[in-house]
């Protein structure tokens, strides 16, 4: 009877192993990390004990890039991944295939998890890392370690502080939202009433920069207009809906709400619809999706600042490839932004910008 | 109507039933006697389709049957009334009875009127008057048990097994039960009656089958079997006296003194227990005995009066305080209040000793000496003859009698001065009962003060120096040696 239990436990253990093994088969495609030359799996006793034992593969045997996003749920990062995979596909043949591995913590507040991901990438010995940091400082030391170990690191979307990676490629959130704020002030406000900000958190620089930028934009034109302050939404649509109701109750003279990401914007729209105050409030936001575009057509959203997530992935990967080749790149470059308004939303430029988020978008899709 | 022919069953290398053969006729009550582990429950599980026999045949009305599931047995007309009640308190009596029938039929529409009529019919057959439209939860446990019986009668079984039905019943309720069983017998049903109480067997059964070690030791008329012989066949040895001889060890020193002590349903009571004395507390269920004792040990709060231990006034806020003062309470409810059934025997035995910081096991910092602890629990296991593999065996796997031994052992190990036994022989077999009586008298000999609550008057008479009787919350009488059951019954 004990023998039976042992057999059962072995069977279960083996099936776990087999399951994981077979999943490996369908999980990896293209060149896998099968490099015997650089394959040092021996436990090494390094001086500081922090050096990884595995060196990245030599070029020509296939490259592995880790894309470490801020969270596993937002479609923004999937656009980044798509861009990265496209670049990998285009350039891959020269290098024996480039594999893009995509990881992210469940929530963008789990800075420790993201730190782990950088450390694991170092253990794995990848060739390059494309990372959008959840926090400007938490992954810093690990990124430096990675670079010391010969891994190329490009930081996208949000700043690392201090910027000790090989390169930064992201939107200047401050400028982007200042432009947005100015546009709104010019076209929709007259200095009376108040405005509020819905931010997804106060941890990541992206969120903080956009917030600061927007306020700068408004106050540049109407310095005396009342700012009722920010609310933290944690990118939760339901939560944001409730927060809108609270803010409006407290400030009946509310004229404008700024949402600094797509989820937050959706929550704001819901909130306004529930309160029935669509006409009274000017809504503007960062990022886009089909629902937000439809709302723009209907007139409930005044303007959207669009980033270039696809480009961040695409160009970011190309920069990594250049670095692997030993070429120099610009240390810091702006991935660009586009101010989308109801007036320009059907122009070719606008459509291209929207396609950064929604692959194959056509103006008919949002009608 | 029922015949077992050469039934055998083994679990791995353990032969539990060996060549069981006997018959039970219609309109007959057959008592199935035997110690725990003799094979009674295994045989019943085979008859109700839970187990399958390895060899032999079962005939019902002359035809061989093979039960592979409980529903097979059910369909063949075999019913069983368990000790454990399965009651849905907020549904009515009728709904409870009917629900138990419809378990397998998912979309069966329950016609309320028909439900009520059919249920009332069943109770009529049993000779029981009951309002079937009241929620079952409003009735007492013994009435709920009658409902259990109704559930099995509803299906019109040919044979009904009663598994230790009187354990939780008062005398009056037991009488009612016997009336019902008699009614069923008159209707022509076959009844297999399992009980530990010998008097009940003699009272109700026509025939008797005695099992021991998986074999039939006797099969014949009940009244042709001498009581001593019955016990002999059951336990394989001669038990000269069921109750130990009473020598008085009573001292002058008072251990517990209650003055005007009471609360809740218990009126202010006076009670004194001396060292070396065994005092019995008789009374009906609901008379307030357990309630009184729970206040003594601090499990519930008392409203008036005082309690003195060793002549000093004490405040007991919880059973922990009681233990500190040297009072042990052996709970009536083993499963829920007396034992940690999911833990090992050793864990259970050692707990009060650890709480009391028994010096040889627990250091001043609370560190437990595992070796010494193990020695103590092994000692207790041997001295109380707990049948087990080792001290790590989980208590839930022990028989009722062995569980009771553990629940007593744990207190002996803590070396208290005062023992309170609440229904100490409930649901345990004959041999263990006798052993418990020996233990109780042994404690008195060691100079301990003992209080025994029991609803089984003969055992109080047989074990105690003195019997107090409680009725409706008051102590109404006190009897010394030589009291009869009748005396006590009259006063209750």
């Amino acid at each position: 009877m004990k023998a039976k239990l042992f057999k059962k436990a072995t069977a279960i253990g083996l099936s776990v192993l087999l399951a994981a093994g077979s999943l490996t088969g369908c999980g990896s495609n293209g060149a896998s990390a099968d490099n015997t030359a650089a394959n040092e799996t021996v436990v090494k006793e390094a001086e500081s004990g922090t050096e990884p034992a595995v060196a990245p593969e030599a070029a020509g045997d296939g490259l592995v890039f880790k894309v470490i996003a801020m969270n596993a749920a937002s479609p923004y990062w999937l656009s980044v991944k798509n861009g990265a995979e496209k670049a990998a596909e285009e350039m891959g043949s020269e290098y024996g295939g480039i594999k893009i591995e995509y990881v992210a913590p469940q929530e963008d507040t789990d800075t420790q998890k993201q730190l782990e991901m950088v450390e694991n990438a170092i253990s794995q010995g990848v060739d390059g890392i494309l990372i959008a940091p959840c926090s400007p400082t938490v992954p810093h030391d690990a990124i430096v370690e990675a670079i010391d170990a010969g891994i190329k690191v490009i930081v996208i979307d949000q700043y690392l502080d201090p910027m000790d990676a090989n390169g930064f490629f992201g939107t200047n959130g401050v400028n982007m939202c200042t432009e947005l704020g100015e546009y709104i002030a010019d076209n929709h406000l007259d200095g009376s009433g108040s405005y509020a900000e819905m931010v997804f958190n106060m941890t990541s620089l992206a969120s903080i920069d956009r917030y600061n930028g927007f306020i700068a934009g408004i106050t540049g034109i109407y310095p005396d207009m009342k700012d009722v302050g920010y609310q933290i939404t944690e990118s939760d649509i339901n939560k944001t809906t409730s927060l809108v109701a609270n803010v409006y109750q407290a400030n009946p003279d509310l004229k404008c709400i700024f949402a600094n990401n797509d989820r937050t914007a959706l929550g704001v729209l819901n909130g306004i619809k529930e309160l029935g105050i669509e006409g009274q409030i000017t809504v503007c936001a960062v990022d886009c999706n089909l629902d937000l575009l439809k709302a723009m057509r209907e007139g409930t959203i005044a303007a959207l600042s669009l980033q270039m997530p696809y480009n961040q992935g695409y160009e970011g990967t190309k920069k990594l490839i250049s670095l692997v080749n030993g070429e120099e790149i610009e240390k810091e470059s702006d991935s660009g932004s586009f101010l989308l308004t109801p007036d320009n939303m059907d122009t070719d430029e606008a459509v291209a910008a929207i396609q950064q988020y929604i692959d194959g978008y056509k103006p008919e899709d949002s009608q | 109507m029922l015949e077992f022919i050469n039934i055998s069953k083994s679990f791995f290398k353990n032969k539990v039933l060996d060549g069981i053969s006997f018959k039970a006729e219609s309109g007959e009550i057959l008592a199935l006697a035997g110690q725990n582990g003799a094979g009674k429950s295994t045989l019943m599980k085979i008859l109700t389709g839970i187990y399958q026999a390895d060899g032999g045949q079962i005939l019902i009305d002359g035809k061989e049957v093979h039960f592979t599931s409980v529903s097979d047995a059910d369909a063949a007309g075999v019913g069983i009334v368990y000790q454990e009640l399965s009651v849905i308190p907020h549904l009515t009596v009728a709904e409870n009875v009917v629900l138990s029938q419809n378990v397998n039929r998912r979309f069966h529409y329950l016609n309320k009127k028909k439900e009520i009529a059919q249920t009332e019919e069943v109770f009529r057959r049993l000779g029981v008057e009951i309002d079937v439209t009241r929620p079952l939860g409003e009735y007492t446990a013994s009435t709920q048990q009658l409902v259990e019986i109704a559930k099995s009668i509803y299906k019109n079984p040919k044979l009904v097994i009663f598994d230790e039905p009187t354990t939780s019943l008062t005398n009056k309720e037991r009488e009612k039960l016997f009336e019902v069983m008699d009614a069923m017998r008159k209707e022509g049903m076959t009844i297999l009656f399992i009980t530990h109480y010998l008097e009940e067997m003699y009272r109700m059964a026509d025939k008797c089958v005695v099992l021991r070690d998986g074999r039939v030791q006797y099969y014949g008329a009940m009244n042709q079997l001498d009581k001593g012989e019955l016990v002999n066949l059951m336990i394989g040895q001669r038990l000269d006296a069921f109750y130990p001889k009473i020598e008085s060890y009573v001292t002058e020193k008072t251990a517990v003194e209650l003055s005007g002590f009471g609360g809740g349903i218990v009126a202010p009571c006076d009670l004194k227990i001396n060292y070396g004395e065994v005092v019995g507390l008789a009374g009906l269920v609901g008379a307030g005995r357990t309630e009184l004792v729970w206040m003594m040990i601090g499990h519930t709060k008392h409203s008036y009066g005082s309690i003195k231990i060793d002549g000093r006034d004490v405040t007991i806020k919880d059973p922990g305080d009681a233990l500190d003062l040297g009072i042990a309470y052996i709970n009536e409810d083993r499963k829920n209040g007396g034992l940690h059934t999911g833990m090992g025997i050793g864990f259970n035995i050692l707990l009060p000793s650890i709480v009391k910081n028994r010096a040889d096991i627990v250091s001043s910092t609370g560190y437990i000496n595992d070796k010494e602890a193990r020695r103590v629990s092994d000692e207790m296991i041997v001295s109380l003859e707990v049948k087990c593999v080792d001290a790590d065996q989980k208590v839930m796997t022990l028989s009722g009698g062995n569980q009771q031994k553990v629940s007593i052992a744990k207190w002996i190990a803590a070396d208290p001065q005062i023992y309170i036994f609440d229904e100490p022989t409930k649901g345990i077999d004959v041999l263990t009962k006798s052993r418990v009586y020996d233990i109780i008298r042994g404690l008195a000999k060691d100079g301990k003060a003992v209080l025994v609550i029991s609803s089984y008057t003969p055992e109080l008479i047989g074990v105690c120096d003195r019997v107090e009787v409680m009725s409706k919350g008051k102590i109404v009488a006190s009897f010394g040696q030589g009291v009869t059951e009748n005396d006590i019954l009259l006063v209750q």
């Binding site: 004990k2 239990l5 279960i12 253990g13 776990v16 093994g21 999980g27 990896s28 896998s32 990390a33 490099n35 394959n39 799996t41 436990v43 006793e45 390094a46 004990g49 922090t50 050096e51 990884p52 034992a53 592995v64 591995e101 995509y102 990881v103 913590p105 507040t109 789990d110 800075t111 420790q112 730190l115 991901m117 694991n120 253990s123 794995q124 400082t137 938490v138 030391d141 106060m202 933290i232 944690e234 | 059973p319 500190d324 709970n331 829920n336 059934t341 999911g342 833990m343 707990l351 650890i354 910081n357 627990v362 910092t365 560190y367 437990i368 041997v382 003859e385 065996q393 989980k394 796997t397």
Partner: protein
């Protein structure tokens, strides 16, 4: 006549596979071997050190959760306590300029206070642990967010990150050592001291425990206070890891500690569980996460596989449990 205690000469298998700890240990070793072979870079000094550091925070709160779950309770406020602790400690150092020792002590005190609140409501008032600790989770999280308006605290004294990345003898991470010390001490308390017995007694059957003389309210209260304290330490460890005070960090970590305890043989019904089993459970989860990442799996696959392993481990535990009961 005495019935001798029958000592069955149990087979080795019974000893080894008779308890969940051995089973999960076997699973852990199997996983480590599997990843060492299949994931280049897994079996390296750097990665093993990484693993220890990565498991430190979860490992410590898993120890706390073990105590709580054995009493048939649950502590959902663990993650919130971690966040609060990092914030208080950081705030004291950065905003108030207090010495590190004082800041750490103040943060630990706050964590203990949360434990006291939890313990009071669960043990003395008698509220269900699930609701109570869920309530404290929300309250503590909100307090942490209100304290700095949701902002994070950076620019901690360099000693913090140095300690966080530091090692003993160049090999063993400081943070892992803290975890190991806590594990060893708590394991001893649970198994070898009377308090541990009271914990099991309360969880297995609180009524029987009370009747046996155990001061059940006191014991359960202390369990939650201890849990709060340990989560406070976990919070300090977290702060050393991320070198910041972030109110929302640790969010959801209690789910992982509950998983770990259950994988290790703990029962949500109480009365069962062990620290060694739970710790192995915590390592199984972090080994899986790291190993799969190094093999190149995306986050979505990791979640799936971790879920499967959790179910398998609990299945094995349930089967084993049923077997041992059916044996008699």
């Amino acid at each position: 006549m005495n019935t001798p205690v029958v000592k069955e000469k149990g087979s080795m298998f019974k000893k080894v596979l008779g308890n969940q700890i051995s089973v999960v240990f076997f699973i852990l070793i199997a996983l480590i071997i599997f990843f060492s072979v299949g994931a280049k870079g897994f079996f390296s000094a750097y990665n093993l050190k990484s693993l220890l550091q990565q498991t430190a925070v979860i490992g410590i709160i898993t120890v706390a959760q073990t105590f709580v779950i054995i009493t048939s309770g649950i502590d959902l406020s663990q993650g919130a306590i971690i966040g609060l602790t990092t914030l208080i400690a950081s705030g004291m150092m950065v905003d108030l300029g207090l010495p590190i020792g004082v800041a750490v002590l103040a943060a630990l005190l706050a964590a203990v206070l949360v434990g006291v609140v939890n313990g009071f409501f669960v043990a003395h008032v008698g509220l269900p642990a699930f609701i109570t600790t869920l309530g404290t989770q929300y309250i503590i999280r909100s307090i942490a967010l209100l304290a700095k308006g949701g902002n994070d605290i950076y620019n901690l004294p360099p000693e913090i990150s140095n300690f966080g990345r530091g090692t003993i003898g160049g090999v063993f991470p400081n943070l892992a050592i803290i975890m190991i010390v806590i594990v060893v001490i708590m394991h001893l308390i649970l198994k070898k001291f009377s308090f541990g017995r009271y914990v099991y007694a309360c969880g297995s059957n609180v009524t029987a425990a009370r009747f046996s003389g155990v001061k059940t309210k006191k014991a359960i209260f202390l369990v939650y206070v201890l849990a709060g304290f340990l989560c406070g330490i976990a919070g300090i460890v977290m702060m050393c890891r991320i070198n910041a005070g972030i109110a929302v960090c640790g969010d959801g970590y209690e789910m992982n500690s509950i998983c770990a305890v259950v994988i290790g043989g703990g029962s949500l019904f109480g009365g069962e569980g062990s620290i060694s089993g739970a710790l192995i459970g915590a390592f199984i989860m972090s080994v899986l996460s790291t190993g799969l990442q190094i093999m190149g799996f995306s986050t979505y696959w990791q979640q799936l596989i971790t879920g499967i392993v959790l179910i398998l481990a609990v299945m094995v535990d349930t089967i084993r449990r049923r077997r041992s009961q059916g044996m008699e």
